[in-house]
C-alpha cells in the first residue's frame, strides 16, 4: 500500500482507461480517476445508471480495468451490500475466489439522480445495515445523461430543461436537498465532500473512507460543461470557484461516541479563518449559462442578494458545527 503523495500516485496506473465516450472536459472521469488512485489493492466497483455507466461500457467495449458491475438506477447501494456480504462470507469460510485477499475494497459510483432521488432508499438501507463500502456521489446537479432534467440535487435558480428560466419562473424554485446532513444523520462513520480541484485532498479523503470499517460517503461536485453551459476547459476552475464562494464547502465528518464531529478541510478552513478571502456568489454564477437569467437582460439584484444570504447562512451553520 503506497503513501498518498502526488508523485507516488501519478505513477499508479489508472483504473479507468482511455477511450470512454464522455464529453470532452467531463469532471466525472476526473473524480473516478482520483478516487480510484487511493484504493489499497483488489477493488470491486459498482455503478448506477448515469453518464458514467453509459459512456464507459458501450458494448462490446469497457473502460474499466477493475471488476465492475452495472445495476439499475435505484439499487447501486444494495448491489454493493451484496458484494460486501459475499466477501465477508468467503473470508469467514476461508473458501471461494475472494478468500485469498485480506482486503477487498467495494466502491459505488452514482450520480445525483441515483442518490438524491431514485437510489436514496437503497443507500439509506445499506448504511443502516452497516455494510463496509464507500459510496461516491458524483453530483452534477441534474439528470445530464437524459438531457438536463432537474433533480433533487439541482440548486435554487438553476435553469434546466424541466425548470426553464422564463417569464413564469426563474429557474428551479426549490432548494437543493441537504444530502450530507441526511447521510450524517444516519450515523455514518465517515462523510466528506471532495472537489477535484484539490487532487491530494480527494485522494487522502478517499483513502480514509476506504480504510474506515463501515459505510462511508463521499460527495463530489462534478461541473458539467453541457448542462451548466460553460466551455469545457473551465471544468476544474468552476469546481474550484464553488468552494471559494462557499457554495460547496469542503469538510469531513466523523462519528465520535455517537456524536458527529465536523472538520473543515484546508481550502475551506482558509476561508473560515480569513473571511475576506471569500468570493462573492456572482463570481461563480457569472461563469455559467444556467444562471444567465440572473444577469441578463437585467441584473436581478434582489435574487442575487437572497441567494448570497442563503449561502452565507449555510456557511455560518457549517462553521459553527466545525467550531471555527
Amino acid at each position: 500500500m503506497s503513501e498518498i503523495t502526488l508523485k507516488e500516485m501519478s505513477r499508479k496506473p489508472d483504473a479507468l482507461i482511455c477511450g470512454g465516450r464522455l464529453c470532452a472536459g467531463c469532471d466525472e472521469t476526473i473524480v473516478v480517476r482520483q478516487v480510484m488512485k487511493a484504493t489499497r489493492g483488489p477493488t470491486i466497483v459498482t455503478s448506477a445508471t448515469g453518464c458514467l455507466e453509459v459512456s464507459t461500457s458501450i458494448f462490446p467495449y469497457t473502460s474499466w480495468e477493475v471488476p465492475w458491475m452495472h445495476c439499475a438506477f435505484e439499487n447501486v447501494a444494495a448491489l454493493a451490500s451484496g458484494i460486501e456480504a459475499t466477501i465477508k462470507a468467503m473470508h469467514k469460510k476461508k473458501e471461494g475466489p475472494l478468500a485469498k485477499y485480506p482486503t477487498v475494497d467495494v466502491i459505488s459510483f452514482a450520480g445525483d439522480g441515483g442518490t438524491y432521488d431514485i437510489g436514496l432508499q437503497a443507500l439509506s438501507g445499506a448504511i443502516e445495515r452497516g455494510h463496509d463500502f464507500t459510496y461516491v456521489l458524483i453530483d452534477n446537479e441534474a439528470y445530464m445523461n437524459t438531457g438536463i432534467q432537474r433533480s433533487g440535487g439541482t440548486p435554487f435558480g438553476a435553469s434546466t430543461t424541466t425548470s426553464p428560466a422564463g417569464k413564469v419562473i426563474l429557474g428551479k424554485t426549490e432548494t437543493k436537498k441537504p444530502i450530507d446532513e441526511i447521510i450524517i444523520a444516519h450515523g455514518t462513520p465517515y462523510v466528506a465532500t471532495i472537489n477535484t480541484a484539490w487532487p491530494l485532498d480527494v485522494m487522502k479523503k478517499a483513502r480514509k473512507a476506504i480504510e474506515v470499517d463501515g459505510p462511508t460517503f463521499l460527495h463530489s461536485l462534478a461541473p458539467c460543461s453541457r448542462g451548466w453551459r460553460f466551455p469545457p476547459e473551465k471544468t476544474v476552475e468552476i469546481g474550484r470557484l464553488a468552494t471559494q464562494t462557499c457554495v460547496f464547502p469542503l469538510f469531513e465528518c466523523r462519528q465520535e461516541k455517537g456524536k458527529p464531529v465536523y472538520e473543515l478541510s484546508a481550502p475551506s478552513l482558509a476561508i473560515a479563518k480569513r473571511p475576506e478571502n471569500k468570493k462573492p456568489i456572482e463570481a461563480y454564477l457569472e461563469q455559467q449559462g444556467r444562471y444567465r437569467h440572473f444577469f441578463r437582460p437585467a441584473r436581478k439584484e434582489a435574487l442575487l442578494k437572497e441567494l448570497q444570504e442563503s449561502i452565507d447562512t449555510r456557511w455560518q451553520i457549517l462553521c459553527e458545527k466545525a467550531g471555527v
Binding site: L6, K7, M9, S10, R11, D14, L16, I17, C18, G19, G20, R21, L22, A24, G25, C26, D27, E28, T29, I30, R33, Q34, T56, S57, I58, F59, P60, Y61, T62, S63, T196, P199, P231, P232, E233, K234, T235, V236, E237
Partner: protein, 92 residues
Amino acid sequence: MSERKRGWKTLPKGAVPYKSSKDYQTGDWGVAKPIIDRTRCSKCTLCHFFCPEGAITVRVDGYTEVNYDYCKGCGVCANECPVKCIKMEMKK
C-alpha cells in the same frame, strides 16, 4: 470496425464487454491539441490528475506526455497548468 461482429452463439453470457475501450480511439474528437513546453514545465504532474481522459501519463523522467490517440482536446490541462506551459494548438 470492419471485422465481423460476434453472434449470439459466441458472445459471453450476461452482456459482459469483451473488448478494451483502448481499441476505440477518441483522438479525432477535438479541434485543438495540447502542446507541452518542457523547458518551463515544473513536473508538478497536476495535468495528469486533471486530465478527464487519462490521456496524460507521467514518464520515467518526471515529465508528462499526452497521448494524442485519446486526447479529446478539452483544454483543462492548459487552463489549470500552474506555470502555463501547456498551449492548445488548433489541428490542421
